[in-house]
């Protein structure tokens, strides 16, 4: 019996299959969840994948945040279920107010797609325990609306409480405040980031490295030892 990690598919999700594969490679069981599901099929954790959702017409993640599956996920996340939001998934998490702040268009107005170096600032979350604090990792980044922002008080609070989980290194790709690439909630079970760890789990593709695997092995250990 291993951990069951749900991966939600919204209309427009692109990286749900890669996320499922990353979960499987780490040794957990991926469970496909549909945006209309109200039941989470006994999963122990959820990944909100990257791509787009509902055309991102209003704002990225603004419409998907009200989908039936999110109602249940918001409820469960508040009760402690681990949730990882990648790229569009991160945008859904801020729109859901499970994470503070908001995402804006990249400051240079271009879609960006490149391998991005990050520093893991907090390895105390459900999704980062397999990294060393301060470890530098390289994973792909690809987005249009990646500029994390929040008011000064919120940013000060995130910094003071160590809730900035990832920071961009070697150049900020989108103008995010304090070079923030990813954050966590106060409890550490909900994590969101713009870059894509699920694309860096196999040396054959992506960056050629496996720096993203740690997200999925971290959650497996957390759930199996729970």
């Amino acid at each position: 019996m291993t951990a069951r990690v749900g991966v939600v598919t919204f209309p427009g999700s692109l990286d749900d299959r890669d996320a499922q594969r990353a979960v499987r490679l780490a040794g957990a069981e991926p469970v496909a969840l549909w945006h209309r599901d109200t039941d989470l099929h006994q999963v122990d954790a959820v990944v909100l994948p990257g791509g787009f959702s509902f055309g991102d017409y209003l704002r990225a993640g603004a419409i998907s945040r009200f989908s039936p599956v999110m109602t249940t996920i918001i409820e469960q996340a508040k009760a402690g279920m681990p949730v990882l939001g990648i790229c569009n998934g991160f945008q859904v998490l801020t729109e859901s107010h499970l994470l503070p702040g908001a995402m804006l268009r990249n400051n240079h107005l271009h879609f960006i797609c490149r391998d991005q170096k990050l520093r893991v600032e907090n390895n105390g979350t459900a999704w980062t325990s397999d990294y060393a604090s301060g470890q530098e990792i390289m994973i792909p980044l690809k987005n249009m609306d990646g500029r994390f922002t929040a008011d000064r008080r919120t940013v000060d609070e995130l910094e003071a409480e160590g809730r900035v989980v990832f920071r961009y290194l070697d150049g900020n790709p989108n103008g995010s405040i304090n070079d923030i690439a990813g954050i966590t909630n106060a409890a550490g079970n909900v994590v969101g980031l713009m870059p894509h760890p699920e694309h860096a789990v196999d040396p054959m593709v992506g960056t050629g490295g496996t720096d993203g695997t740690g997200f999925f092995t971290s959650i497996l250990k957390r759930l199996v030892n729970a």
Partner: protein
């Protein structure tokens, strides 16, 4: 039917690179003298039934929870008088 307009704008302190791009293009097109541009969204809601206080309160709630993200945006709600020929 009555029309209610919700205007959504980025908060003043939020950088608006889209507005900046528009502002930079204006002089190239011969439109001089525009010092700044901020780009926003306008929603026109055609309301069934009377636009009373209860209806406006509902729209205000929709704007606050959905049409605008109040972390980064401000919004205004107003009732628009629809010209007769358009309102038929």
């Amino acid at each position: 039917m009555a029309r209610v307009v919700v205007d959504v704008m980025l908060k003043p302190e939020i950088l608006d690179p889209q507005g900046q791009a528009v502002q930079r293009a204006l002089p190239r097109l011969g439109f001089e003298g525009i010092a700044d541009v901020r780009q926003g969204k306008r929603f026109e809601l055609e309301v069934e039934g009377p636009v009373d206080d209860a209806a406006l309160a509902r729209i205000h709630q929709a704007a606050e929870t959905f049409l605008a993200n109040t972390v980064i945006e401000d919004f205004t709600v107003r009732v628009e008088t629809v010209p007769v020929e358009e309102g038929q």
